[in-house]
C-alpha cells in the first residue's frame, strides 16, 4: 500500500502547488465577471466554463482550493493545540480537574455546531473584508472543534500517566512541569499528529456545509463550499457535468488526506 500513500501525497502536493501559484496559473482574476457569457460551457477560454455571474470557474476553483487547503489546516492546528492543552492537562492532573473538563467537553460535544456557528457569525462585525471574514470563519471552526480531540488526548494522557515509563520517571524523582514536558508530551505527539490530520477534512466539509447554507466565505472570495452550492439544483446535473469538478476534487483531496493519515496512524 506504500505506492497508494505516495500517490495520495503526490496528489496533495500537486494540488497545493497549483493553488499556491494561482496568481500565475489562473486565466482570470477570481472576481472578474464576464457578464456577456454567464453560465458558459467549458471552452478554451474558460476551461471549466463560467458561473452564473460569468466568473471563470477554473480560476475560482484554484483560488477556492487555496482558501480551503490553507485555512483548514490552520483551523486544524488551532483545534489540535487547544485539544492538547485541555485534554493533556486534564489527563495528566486527573481527579476533579479531569472530571470537570470532561463534563465541559461532553457539554461542548452535545451543542449543535452548525446552529452555534450561525449564531456566532451573526454577532460578528459586518464591515470586514472577505479575507478577514474567511479567516474568522475558520478561526471559529478551530475554536469550536477541539472537544472530540480533547477526549481522545485526555484518555491517552491518563493511560500514559499509569504506564511503567511515567511510574519509573516519578520513582526517579521527576515531577511537575518537567515530567509533563520531557516525558508526557513527547509520548502524546503521535496522537496529536493523528488528530491534526483527521481534523483537516472535517473542517473542509464544515466550511462546505456553511457555504451551502450561504454562511461560508463572503463574496467574491471563492471556496469549495461556495462552489458546491452550484450543485443545489440537481436537475442540472446531466446538462452540466463539469459542475461536479469541485465535488470530485474535494472528495479526492479528503480521501488523500485519509490515505496519508493511515500510514501516520501505523507510524503512531
Amino acid at each position: 500500500m506504500k505506492w497508494v500513500r505516495l500517490a495520495a501525497i503526490l496528489f496533495l502536493v500537486v494540488v497545493s502547488v497549483a493553488c499556491l501559484s494561482a496568481d500565475f496559473v489562473a486565466p482570470a482574476p477570481y472576481a472578474r465577471q464576464f457578464r456577456e457569457v454567464p453560465d458558459a460551457a467549458p471552452s478554451s477560454q474558460h476551461l471549466l466554463g463560467t458561473d452564473d455571474l460569468g466568473r471563470d470557474r477554473f480560476s475560482r476553483l484554484l483560488y477556492g482550493t487555496r482558501v480551503s487547503l490553507l485555512l483548514a489546516p490552520a483551523a486544524a492546528l488551532l483545534s489540535s493545540l487547544l485539544a492538547a492543552v485541555i485534554g493533556g492537562a486534564a489527563g495528566f492532573a486527573g481527579g476533579w480537574l479531569e472530571t470537570s473538563v470532561m463534563a465541559a467537553t461532553d457539554l461542548f460535544l452535545s451543542l449543535p455546531w452548525l446552529f452555534l456557528l450561525i449564531t456566532v457569525r451573526a454577532f460578528l462585525p459586518l464591515n470586514v473584508s472577505p479575507i478577514a471574514s474567511v479567516a474568522i470563519t475558520f478561526a471559529l471552526l478551530g475554536c469550536l472543534g477541539w472537544a472530540a480531540a480533547a477526549r481522545v488526548i485526555c484518555a491517552d494522557a491518563r493511560t500514559l500517566c499509569g504506564s511503567d515509563v511515567i511510574v519509573l520517571a516519578r520513582a526517579c524523582g521527576i515531577g511537575g512541569f518537567r515530567l509533563l514536558w520531557r516525558h508526557v508530551v513527547p509520548n502524546l505527539k503521535p496522537i496529536l499528529y493523528a488528530q491534526f490530520w483527521i481534523s483537516i477534512p472535517v473542517f473542509i466539509l464544515t466550511e462546505a456545509n456553511l457555504g451551502i447554507l450561504g454562511l461560508g466565505v463572503a463574496e467574491p472570495l471563492p471556496s469549495w463550499g461556495g462552489m458546491l452550492r452550484e450543485l443545489e439544483s440537481f436537475s442540472s446535473f446531466s446538462a452540466q457535468p463539469w459542475l461536479f469538478v469541485p465535488l470530485i476534487l474535494l472528495m479526492v483531496t479528503v480521501s488523500c488526506f485519509h490515505l496519508a493519515l493511515q500510514n501516520e496512524e501505523v507510524w503512531a
Partner: protein, 543 residues
C-alpha cells in the same frame, strides 16, 4: 333534408355535450403548496397557502379580474360606494346556496362583516378596513340589499371586498360551508388537501353548464421547488404558479409550450441605507447615507440592465419606482429607470466632497468609502445581485462587503438594533392599491425601513410624502389620489430612500393538458379563473 338538419344539429350537440361531460367526469386539478395552510378560516388568512384555499373555496361579493385589473360582480350584482367612502351598498344575487345547501342572504354578509371587524378575532383581512376606532353598522334592506357603514372613510373600499369570503350565519358547518367553486373535502395535515366541486355553485357558462368544469382540486404540500419541477415534467401536477428565472429557462428548454412569462410583475428588489440617527454607525457614515447625492450616485453606479439580464436571465426589468409598471392604473408613466452612468455618479459624489485617490473613493475627511450590505443567507438570487453590485461599485472606487445573515438575525438588525449599513431585500406586493403601503411610507410608521418610527419627519421630502399619502387616504376621488401617488413616486425617484433595482417577471409552468389557461402577473397567476379551467384529453398526465 331541410327538416332533418335541425334534428342532426341537435343530436350532434347532445352527443358532444355527453362526450365532453364524460371527458371531464372525475377530472382533477393538481398543484403544490409550499407549506400547509395555517388556517381554513377565511377571515384569519395570513399566509400564501391559506390564501390559496380561500381563493378556491371562498365566495366573494365582487372579484378583481386579474387580467383586466377591474372589479367584476360575483355574489353582489351591483354596488355603490358613498361619496365620502365610508359606506357601501350591495344588491345581492338571488337563489344562491352555500355548499351545504344553506341559502345565502344579506344576513350572511352582515354576519361576515361583524365577525371580520371583531377586534377579538384579530383578522388580518379586517385590518385593511380599519381606518379609525369605532364599530361598523350593517343595514339590511330585505334579503338582497345591504349597506355597510364604517366609522370613517376607507380608501379603495370596494376593492377590499375581493379578499372577503362570505360565511354562513346559519350553517352548522360554519366556515366549512362555502360559496366558492370548491369546498374542502379532505385535509391530511402536512400531506395534501382535497377540494371537491361545490354542487351549489351559482356560476354557469354561456351554454348554461354549471361551473367549475374540473371536479376536484388536489393540493400537495411540497416545499422543495426542484421536486415540484420534476413532478410537473412527469405530469404529476398540472402547473407551478410561480417559477424562478432559472427554473423557467430549464422548463422552456425542455418543453417550450409549458413555460409562460406573463411579463413584469408587482414584486421588486431594492437596496436601502440605514438613516436611523440613533444607529451605532460612525457619524461620517451617517452623513454619507443621509446625502441624496450619495444615494443617487450609488443608484447610478448600479447596472440594472445587467442585473436583469444576468441574475434574472432576462426575466426582469430595471425598476423605476415603488409602484411596478404592472400596476396599470397607479404607475407613474413619466418616470424612467435611473441610467447606469458612473461618470455622472462621480460628479454627484464630487459635489459632496468625495474624491478618487489611488483608485479608492474617499470622503472630504479622508475616510475610504467602504460599507457592508446585508441580505438573507441562502437566497442565491440576492447573493448574485450583491456580487454584481459589489463589482459595479468597485468601478467608482467603493468597497462593498457582502454579508449574508440568517433571516431572524437580519430582521433583528433592520428593525431593532439598527446595526447595519445597507440592506438588500425584496418586497412582495399583492395589493394594487398603493394605500396598502401607508405603513411603509409614513415617516411615523414602523415599516418606514430606512428610518422608522419618526416622531416628526426628519427631512422636508419625508414631510411632503407624509402629507401626500394622507391626502390620497382622505379622499375617494380616484383622480386626486392618482395625482398624489404620482407625486410621491416622483419624490422617491429623486430622493432614493429605496434604490429600486428590478421588477421580476411573473413566470409559470403549465401542463399542456390544462385548457383555458391565461397566466397573468397578479396572484394567483395561473388559477385566477379556476372555474373556467378544464383538462383536455391530450398531453401527458401520468400517475
Amino acid at each position: 333534408m331541410k327538416k332533418g338538419l335541425p334534428l342532426f344539429v341537435f343530436l350532434l350537440s347532445v352527443t358532444l355535450s355527453v362526450v365532453t361531460a364524460k371527458a371531464q367526469s372525475g377530472s382533477q386539478l393538481r398543484f403544490c403548496l409550499g407549506a400547509a395552510p395555517k388556517t381554513l378560516n377565511p377571515l384569519l388568512v395570513d399566509d400564501e397557502a391559506s390564501d390559496t384555499v380561500r381563493y378556491l373555496t371562498g365566495g366573494v361579493l365582487m372579484r378583481l379580474n386579474r387580467m383586466t385589473q377591474q372589479l367584476e360582480p360575483e355574489l353582489a350584482t351591483s354596488w355603490k360606494v358613498s361619496r365620502n367612502g365610508d359606506s357601501i351598498s350591495f344588491t345581492l344575487r338571488q337563489n344562491v346556496r352555500f355548499s351545504d345547501g344553506t341559502p345565502f342572504s344579506a344576513e350572511d354578509v352582515a354576519y361576515t362583516m361583524q365577525r371580520l371587524m371583531d377586534p377579538a378575532l384579530h383578522s388580518p383581512t379586517g385590518d385593511a378596513f380599519r381606518s379609525s376606532e369605532g364599530k361598523i353598522v350593517t343595514q339590511a334592506g330585505g334579503k338582497d340589499q345591504i349597506t355597510i357603514v364604517f366609522p370613517a372613510p376607507v380608501v379603495g373600499l370596494d376593492k377590499l371586498f375581493d379578499q372577503v369570503a362570505i360565511m354562513s350565519a346559519k350553517s352548522p358547518q360554519k366556515e366549512m360551508a362555502v360559496l366558492g367553486p370548491y369546498y374542502v373535502a379532505e385535509n391530511k395535515a402536512g400531506s395534501y388537501l382535497l377540494l371537491n366541486r361545490n354542487p351549489n355553485y351559482w356560476k354557469h357558462d354561456a351554454g348554461g353548464r354549471q361551473l367549475p368544469y374540473i371536479d376536484s382540486v388536489r393540493l400537495d404540500i411540497q416545499q422543495n421547488r426542484d421536486i415540484e419541477m420534476l413532478r410537473l415534467a412527469r405530469g404529476e401536477i398540472d402547473f407551478i404558479n410561480t417559477l424562478s428565472a432559472e427554473n423557467y429557462d430549464k422548463l422552456e428548454a425542455q418543453a417550450p409550450k409549458m413555460a409562460f412569462d406573463a411579463g413584469v410583475g408587482l414584486d421588486s428588489e431594492q437596496i436601502w441605507f440605514n438613516q436611523v440617527p440613533s444607529s451605532p454607525l460612525p457619524a461620517y457614515k451617517k452623513a454619507w447615507f443621509a446625502s441624496t447625492n450619495f444615494r443617487r450616485a450609488i443608484s447610478e453606479s448600479i447596472n440594472r440592465e445587467d442585473l436583469a439580464r444576468v441574475v434574472f436571465r432576462g426575466h426582469a426589468r430595471p425598476a423605476v419606482s415603488w409602484v411596478s409598471p404592472a400596476n396599470k392604473f397607479w404607475f407613474n408613466t413619466k418616470l424612467q429607470p435611473h441610467p447606469f452612468d458612473q461618470k455622472s455618479a462621480l460628479k454627484l459624489l464630487s459635489q459632496e466632497g468625495f474624491q478618487m485617490r489611488n483608485g479608492a473613493l474617499q470622503d472630504r475627511d479622508g475616510h475610504a468609502v467602504e460599507f457592508s450590505v446585508i441580505t438573507n443567507a441562502g437566497n442565491k438570487v440576492r447573493e448574485r445581485m450583491a456580487a454584481m453590485i459589489q463589482q459595479d461599485l468597485a468601478g467608482i472606487g467603493i468597497r462593498l462587503n457582502v454579508v449574508t445573515l440568517d433571516f431572524p438575525s437580519l430582521i433583528e438588525r433592520i428593525t431593532r438594533s439598527f446595526n447595519y449599513e445597507a440592506c438588500l431585500l425584496g418586497f412582495v406586493n399583492d395589493d394594487l392599491d398603493p394605500n396598502g403601503q401607508m405603513n411603509a411610507w409614513l415617516s411615523s410608521a414602523e415599516n418606514h425601513a430606512w428610518n422608522p418610527n419618526q416622531k416628526a419627519p426628519a427631512t422636508a421630502w419625508e414631510a411632503q410624502i407624509d402629507a401626500l399619502m394622507r391626502t390620497q387616504a382622505s379622499t375617494s376621488d380616484a383622480k386626486k389620489r392618482k395625482q398624489a401617488i404620482d407625486k410621491v413616486q416622483e419624490i422617491v425617484w429623486q430622493q432614493e430612500p429605496f434604490i429600486y433595482l428590478v421588477n421580476k417577471d411573473a413566470m409559470s409552468g403549465v401542463s399542456t393538458a390544462l385548457r383555458n389557461v391565461h397566466p397573468v402577473v397578479l396572484r394567483p397567476q395561473v388559477y385566477w379563473n379556476v372555474e373556467q379551467l378544464s383538462i383536455g384529453a391530450e398531453g401527458s398526465r401520468g400517475r
